[in-house]
């Protein structure tokens, strides 16, 4: 059984909070000292504070603290990370190197645009490549993550309808019951009423229910394709036609773009706009929960409403255009996640024309392989080829052995793997959502499948092993109810 921890021995102390390691007079950085004349602070600022309570730690102790913490944290570089819907692919090292170049990292967002032609070249370069890959007319990189991109798309739709005098009338957004939580939350953020649309037994959009819901009040349908069930929506063209016939717009949740890169283009499917998660499909690292990087694509009828500034070609040069009377305005402070765009640019140029489609082809191959290898122990929720991720169900272990999907996942940690996504989408009972991505070897997939098969045997023969899992980590299963009941969200000298 592999152990995901770094160098730890039994005698090593438990990681203490940094505040408990503080010692008066220590400092962890050679702070620059001003060589300008000293001033009387009170005269200049009025009352100042002297009560600031931050820790005092030496530089080596600081590094040891975080190295120890890193040893109790799992990343893609630790091992296989098949978290469904998250596209945990390899984050190439060269991307870190290019994003760290001083000519990128050391730019101020308010410096004159004339001094950043290279930055504009990167931004427009990413936009141009994403236009070609998605089939949309325009791309903006201003949104800062996926949910922010969803929200921006809905704002474009809202502005579009307002410009046509239909703003008030179209107040409903349709969201399938399988959708990610950010979809309805983003719709609410734009003042829309959310109406759910059911999914059929086969895992497709319920066409009858959709037809019944489509009337003059509908502003948009938010559709994830491939869906969160890992399935390509075969009726996609028909769906877009129906919504358009009713005067509505169709938004594509593009978190699952990995299945389509170089193989099929959502812009050709009939969508009006979509968001992309560059921190999934285009390899920018997730950083333990962020930064994200949320580009959006759109058809030309939505272009007048783009958030400013719009980075675009003008003749031979690239400009940052803020003179846009119909713009929805800014959605973020500056130019978006610029250093993430440098990483995405580097990644896109590494694949290029020749190899771009390999991303979707091998991610779909890997997912179908895992699905095939596990089908006896964890049956697929649908009897169809999957796209970049497979959705399996552990329902029988719950019924027959009192073992939930979560127990199986926790046991996987003991085997040295990060668990897949559980309990999403909400409509599949005891759901496993496994997304291997294209960057994993067959050997890794085999080890993972072997482990899951073994765990499913344990679920029947020695279920207690699963109830108690994980047992190899720094902590056992944690009490989340207690965390809510006795809220403790910051350290205080007396709180521990």
């Amino acid at each position: 059984m592999s152990n995901t921890l770094g160098f730890r021995t039994k005698r090593m102390p438990e990681p203490r909070l940094i505040f408990e390691q503080s010692n008066k007079g220590r400092i962890g950085c050679n702070v620059p000292v001003a060589d300008t004349p000293e001033v009387n602070l009170a005269a200049i600022l009025g009352e100042t504070r002297s009560d600031l309570n931050l820790p005092e730690i030496g530089e080596l102790e600081l590094l040891r603290h975080f190295t120890r913490l890193s040893h109790i944290n799992y990343g893609i570089e630790t091992g296989f990370y098949p978290l469904g819907s998250c596209t945990m692919k390899y984050n190439p090292k060269i991307n870190e190197k290019t994003a760290g170049l001083p000519g990128f990292a050391n730019l101020h967002p308010m410096q004159p645009v004339a001094t950043i032609p290279g930055a504009l070249e990167i931004l427009v370069g990413v936009q141009d490549m994403l236009k070609e890959i998605t089939g949309f007319d325009e791309i903006t990189l201003q949104p800062l993550a996926g949910a922010h991109g969803e929200m921006t798309c809905l704002m474009l739709i809202k502005a579009y309808f307002e410009s046509r005098g239909e703003g008030k009338q179209r107040h409903v957004v349709l969201v399938p019951d399988s959708a990610h939580g950010t979809n309805p939350a983003s719709a609410a953020r734009c003042g829309y009423d959310v109406k759910p649309i059911p999914t059929t037994e086969e895992g497709n959009t319920d066409m009858e229910a959709l037809a019944a819901a489509l009337d003059g009040s509908v502003a948009a349908l938010m559709l994830t394709n491939p869906s969160t069930l890992g399935l390509f929506e075969p009726n996609i063209e028909k769906i877009c036609e129906m919504v358009h016939a009713a005067g509505g717009q169709v938004f594509c949740d593009g978190a699952n773009m990995n299945a389509m890169v170089g193989t099929t283009r959502p812009g050709d499917h009939g969508f009006d706009c979509m968001h992309l998660n560059l921190h999934k499909t285009f390899s920018t690292p997730h950083g333990g929960g962020g930064p994200g990087c949320g580009a959006i694509g759109l058809k030309s009828h939505l272009e007048p409403f783009l958030p400013g500034p719009v980075i675009r070609h003008e003749g031979e040069t690239v400009i940052a255009d803020s003179d846009r009377p119909q713009s929805i305005g800014r959605v973020s402070g500056f130019y978006g996640q610029f250093l993430m765009e440098v990483r995405a640019y580097t990644y896109l140029r590494a694949y290029g024309k020749q190899k771009m489609a390999d991303i979707s082809r091998f991610s779909v191959l890997n997912a179908n392989y895992v699905r095939a290898r596990l089908k006896e122990v964890l049956p697929p929720a649908h009897d169809r080829p999957c796209m970049h991720e497979c959705i399996l169900t552990a329902e029988k272990y719950k019924k027959e052995n009192g073992i939930r999907a979560l127990d199986i996942s926790k046991r996987l940690i003991d085997y040295g793997f990060h668990p897949p996504t559980n309990y999403f989408p909400l409509i599949v009972p005891e759901c496993f959502m496994i997304e291997p991505t294209e960057t994993e070897t067959k050997e890794t997939l085999d080890e993972f499948c072997d482990a899951l098969i073994e765990i499913c045997r344990e679920a029947v023969e020695t279920p207690d092993l699963l109830h108690d899992a994980p047992s190899t980590q720094i902590v056992g299963r944690l009490d989340e109810t207690l965390a809510v009941k006795n809220l403790n969200v910051r350290w205080l000298p007396t709180s521990v």
Partner: protein, 445 residues
């Protein structure tokens, strides 16, 4: 392609297990006419690693970066020193390549670091608690405004004109889409917010500290004005300034937000940066975004950390969530955590003090060189200068001399068309300030 490890025999064995004859067959549910042939897209050619590096390097060289010039530009993003330890920690693969800590047992390292982050951010702002981060300062402020409207059940927010213009633009976008009205308090004439207006019916008063012009606002007066209107007080605060100034929490602010970039995050053309979000304890259930809490093992006594109060969030509450935010800025929050620890209480105070000292020297030298200090208010690290010549012309002339002089304000405030906003951090030296002053004198002559 090194990122895709499949050999030919892997592919044939895998297809055999699947029971498919080709990879193409796996895409059979996509209608034929919607498919493109591999390699058919009009994209640039693939580049090998050395060529890729050279290509990116040559693009980067086209930009003027802050190592080529001396930076006196601030306006929300600051050229501060980043300790070497920050880069060492945030580039560790265990942190850099992790997802959101949905599996706490395998993510204790990150969860503990974020708990430490929350503690120190709350401490700097003098507030009860902080969340695990927001996208950036501007969206963090917009979220605070929206949170105020849902706490107060009022459809109006009030904001000072002396709040960063980009932040106000983002607020305008968010409020338009939710049907929230915005009222603006004047500030341009005196450099500090005029709080005398009656803001009745508003859910919050939003003020920046120090404000966009560098001025130190009277938060006690702002608290009074908010109380009079029965509204919340929302403060957008510079965390570094709060190491020295009396923090907003000490004035009774309800929500304090800000941009964490000055604490260890590269300027990077403004992204990724990190939004800070703190509030009073009583509002914790309305807070947007993730929060890390300390708990214990279910079947043991060891302490551990989890994401908590999850029922506020979009994946559980869907359209009724407090916000749509999911992915945040964890890695930048980690950078700020390392920064706050590396500097500690004495280092942060030193950085803030050096900023004040350098700023005062710059005010003296630049006014001697022919510029006029536009406002008489107390300032921390930034100030407005009026120039006898067109500020954009002056800026461009100084840029040729290797000095990024500041931000001409006419674009944002027509009344300040003759003025420039100058920032001076702890990194500027006596010599650099003197060079700026003598160059300015030449340019103005």
């Amino acid at each position: 392609m090194p990122y895709i490890p499949h050999t030919e025999s892997d592919v044939s064995e895998m297809l055999a297990t699947i029971g498919a004859s080709s990879i193409d067959e796996l895409f059979r549910e996509i209608p034929e006419k919607l498919r493109v042939k591999p390699g058919a897209l009009n994209l640039p050619d693939a580049l090998d690693e050395p060529r890729l590096m050279a290509h990116l390097w040559s693009i980067s060289k086209k930009n003027v970066n802050m190592a080529d010039v001396t930076c006196f530009l601030g306006a929300g993003i600051y050229d501060r020193y980043i300790p070497a330890s920050v880069g060492a920690v945030i580039s560790r693969g265990e942190f850099l390549t992790a997802y959101t800590p949905y599996q706490p047992e395998a993510s204790q390292g990150y969860l503990q670091a974020i708990y430490e982050f929350q503690t120190m951010v709350a401490e700097l702002y003098g507030m009860d608690l902080a969340n695990a981060s927001m996208y950036d300062g501007a969206t963090s402020m917009a979220e605070a405004a929206i949170m105020s409207t849902s706490i107060k059940h009022r459809e109006k927010v009030t904001i000072s004109e002396a709040v960063h213009p980009h932040y106000r633009q983002v607020l305008a976008t968010y409020c338009w889409s939710m049907g929230i009205e915005i009222e603006t308090l004047p500030a341009v004439s005196g450099g500090l917010t005029d709080l005398s207006a009656n803001s009745e019916g508003t859910s919050c008063i939003i003020i920046q500290y120090p404000n966009f012009f560098g001025g130190i606002e009277d938060l006690a007066a702002a608290r009074e004005a908010a109380d009079k209107a029965g509204a919340l007080l929302v403060v957008v605060a510079d965390p570094v300034a709060c190491a020295l100034l009396k923090p907003p929490g000490a004035f009774g602010a309800d929500i304090v937000v800000g941009e964490g970039q000055p604490m260890g995050v590269a300027m990077g053309l403004g992204g990724p940066v990190v939004g800070l979000f703190t509030c009073k304890k009583e509002f914790i259930r309305q807070i947007p975004g993730r929060i890390v809490g300390r708990t214990k093992e279910a079947h043991g006594d060891k302490p551990g950390y989890v994401m908590t109060l999850r029922t506020r969030e979009q994946d559980i509450r869907r359209e009724k969530a407090t916000s749509n935010i999911c992915t945040n800025e964890a890695l930048m929050a980690l950078a700020a955590t390392v920064y706050m620890i590396a500097l500690g209480k004495n280092g942060m105070r030193k950085v803030a003090t050096s900023t004040v000292q350098n700023t005062q020297y710059a005010i003296q030298k630049l006014t001697e060189a022919g510029a006029t200090l536009h406002y008489s208010s107390k300032v921390f690290g930034e100030f407005v200068l009026s120039l006898p010549k067109d500020p954009a012309v002056v800026r461009d002339a100084l840029l040729k001399r290797g000095i990024l002089a500041g931000l001409p304000l006419g674009e944002f405030y027509p009344e300040l068309a003759d003025s420039i906003l100058v920032a001076v951090t702890e990194l500027r030296t006596k010599e650099e300030i003197e060079t700026y002053a003598s160059a300015l004198k030449e340019v103005l002559a």
